[in-house]
């Protein structure tokens, strides 16, 4: 009887642990990708794209500013 209770308690405890551990694990996410560090490749790619786009944007901004200045000086 004593053993039965212990085994039962252990069984219930383990089953609850299992259910706790399992519920978030069943959804597929890019865990392995992130563990391998490959997601950083994509992030770096996007950061490069963003950087180039921002550089272009700032350059255009500056060019427009200079043209505006030229026209203001002419008037």
């Amino acid at each position: 009887m004593k053993y039965f209770r212990m085994v039962m308690a252990l069984f219930l405890f383990l089953s609850s642990v299992e259910s706790l551990a399992q519920s978030p694990e069943t959804v597929e996410m890019a865990d392995i990708l992130r563990r391998d560090g490959k997601i950083y490749t994509v992030v770096f790619g996007l950061v490069i794209i963003l950087t180039i786009l921002i550089i272009i944007l700032v350059r255009v901004d500056r060019k427009i500013f200079r043209l505006e200045k030229q026209i203001r000086n002419k008037e």
């Binding site: 921002i54 901004d61 427009i64 043209l67 505006e68």
Partner: protein, 224 residues
């Protein structure tokens, strides 16, 4: 202001954009079936529509101002903000198609939200046609301002009211849940709000560039 300096809000937008791109990929998101990692599309798809809507609203306000004052600068602002808003609308459609392919299994369905958005953007594309077909500046300003107001008042029921009255796959329509203030996960809130602010800022920056280029072109035409 003789020396070029990058305005503080432009620097802020750049920083927020970097946060959106890096945080959007690396910060934790809720683990949900079917959506999986594609939930991160929320960071990039939703801000496109926010930016588009804000610029369309600004353009219709400019059109109303033009009709009231007949100052041509309001007409210039209206056309340039519609241009930028149209670009963002197209980007929103493209990202939405990619997301739909990942979660619904198809790039396009005859869903009221999708179809009505496409119709709405086509209505706005007629705005460009109308402007291109008129030579006289004041006539073009007046007609296109009236058309812009018409397009906006059709656009709002088309994409925000009609899809909500029928069944739709798209979140936020036909009794579907969507991005809401209090039940969005905290991790997502941080990036979603940052993304919306930064992309609206980027849209505004692009609009100011387009508008200034237009003014430059006009003053050049006057000199020549």
């Amino acid at each position: 202001m003789t020396q070029y300096r990058l305005a503080w809000w432009k620097i802020l937008i750049v920083i927020l954009l970097y946060y959106t791109v890096i945080g959007g990929f690396l910060l934790p998101v809720p683990r949900l079936h079917i959506l999986n990692e594609s939930i991160r599309m929320n960071y990039f798809h939703v801000p496109m529509w926010f930016t588009m809507m804000l610029l369309f609203t600004y353009s219709v306000w400019s059109s109303i101002q033009y009709l009231r004052t007949h100052d041509i600068k309001f007409d210039d602002r209206a056309i340039e903000s519609v241009k930028v808003a149209f670009i963002f609308g197209g980007l929103g459609l493209l990202t939405g198609m990619l997301w739909g392919n990942a979660t619904w299994g198809t790039f396009w369905t005859s869903d009221p939200k999708l179809n009505n958005t496409a119709i709405g953007l086509l209505i706005y594309s007629a705005y460009f046609v109308l402007r291109g077909s008129l030579e006289d500046e004041t006539q073009r300003g007046r007609l296109s301002a009236v058309y812009n107001i018409f397009a906006f008042t059709v656009f709002i029921p088309l994409i925000y009211i009609l899809p909500r009255m029928t069944d739709s796959l798209h979140p936020g329509n036909g009794n579907n849940p969507t991005f809401r203030l209090f039940d969005t996960s905290h991790d997502m809130k941080l990036v979603v709000y940052t993304a919306i602010i930064s992309f609206i800022g980027l849209g505004w920056w692009l609009f100011t560039l387009f508008y200034r280029l237009r003014l430059l072109k006009k003053s050049q035409d006057e000199i020549l």
